[in-house]
Subunit: 204 residues, 2 copies
């Protein structure tokens, strides 16, 4: 499926809205949705057509079917196991965020070097010592690694994850991760987001 | 200045690298930088030209000048005061993240309703009761509001922030924020990022 990044970014917004109204409305029109979410009508129609939803003239889209299609595209119906490396403030916040399950991501455990967190559970997830990473990857089927550790350790840890069979890396560090073509990397860059917001503000 | 989102996302990566080597190299070439960061040479040249950096044939870019230009674009030299609404796990992680200062963002305080956090300091920032938000905005010059509260309260809180003079909103909720043209909103959508990573993995 070929869905643009801008459409993809709006899908969780539609989904969030549809979940809240699904019981009260069997059908929903693009016009109504556009007005409720303060989006353009053309944009809404384009987004919904990108997920393969077909609206009927006058009645609109069936709410539950539309919700289901968006959930499929967002991976809510899939199931991927993940581990998190770096149980500092951001890492622990992500461990506590149960919302990832709604999108098919199950975080199994965390890894760190700090003796204050190793061996403890946070939000029901055990933090292991990083020294046991390779062994853990051998005995567990981990598809995804989340990097919330200091920048300086990002590349070597990514290398270990990839060698251990991880196919995707969600990178919250400022390090550019070198990786083979067979592995997908998605970087969350808070600094770039902040810079983008600053620029938007300056241009208002 | 007109800088593409993809260039903007790479700027913190260059900056991070340049900060680490600035003392050891007076000049740096695009070829060298591209190889070190595993990026394309053409891309690096385009990115650096977008920030207004002029490289000299053979010698390359002056490392410190390049660093300084990127810092300007990323807003590192500006100073914006922010408050954070919602001192839950993610909110407290962001309060603890001193790295925002490097990008000109100073978080003054947090707001919440939970009596377990109200009146306490986290990472040196006081958490006030949300009931005092309007008064706080009257007496402090706050340019930016960070929303890390439950989705259901996002819009009403954004409305209060905007009424109180806030010009930018950094939205970590799943709610689409309706706002006047004069206000900039930047949404961080973890779900969309996760979906994007899932899609990248599926296409490998």
């Amino acid at each position: 499926m070929n869905i643009s990044l801008s459409t993809l970014k709006r899908l969780p917004i539609y989904l969030h809205y549809l979940k809240n109204i699904a019981d009260s409305r069997r059908y929903i029109s693009a016009t109504f949705l556009a007005r409720e979410l303060a989006l353009g009508q053309v944009q809404v129609r384009k987004d919904l057509s990108a997920v393969g939803a077909g609206g009927k003239p006058k009645t609109g889209y069936e709410t539950n079917e539309l919700k289901s299609r968006i959930e499929s595209v967002l991976g809510c119906k899939s199931r991927a196991s993940a581990i998190l490396i770096g149980a500092g403030n951001l890492g622990r916040a992500l461990l506590a965020h149960n919302g990832f399950r709604d999108f098919g991501l199950y975080v199994l455990a965390g890894f760190d070097t700090d003796s204050r967190v190793v061996g403890k559970e946070f939000s029901g997830k055990m933090i292991y010592h990083i020294g046991g990473l390779e062994e853990y990857l051998k005995t567990n089927n981990v598809r995804l690694g989340i990097l919330t550790l200091p920048d300086a350790y990002a590349q070597e840890t990514a290398d270990k994850l990839i060698a251990g069979g991880v196919r995707g890396i969600w990178n919250f560090t400022n390090t550019h991760i070198k990786h083979p073509q067979s592995v997908a990397v998605q970087s969350e860059n808070m600094a770039a987001s902040l810079a983008l917001l600053n620029m938007k503000m300056a241009n208002k």
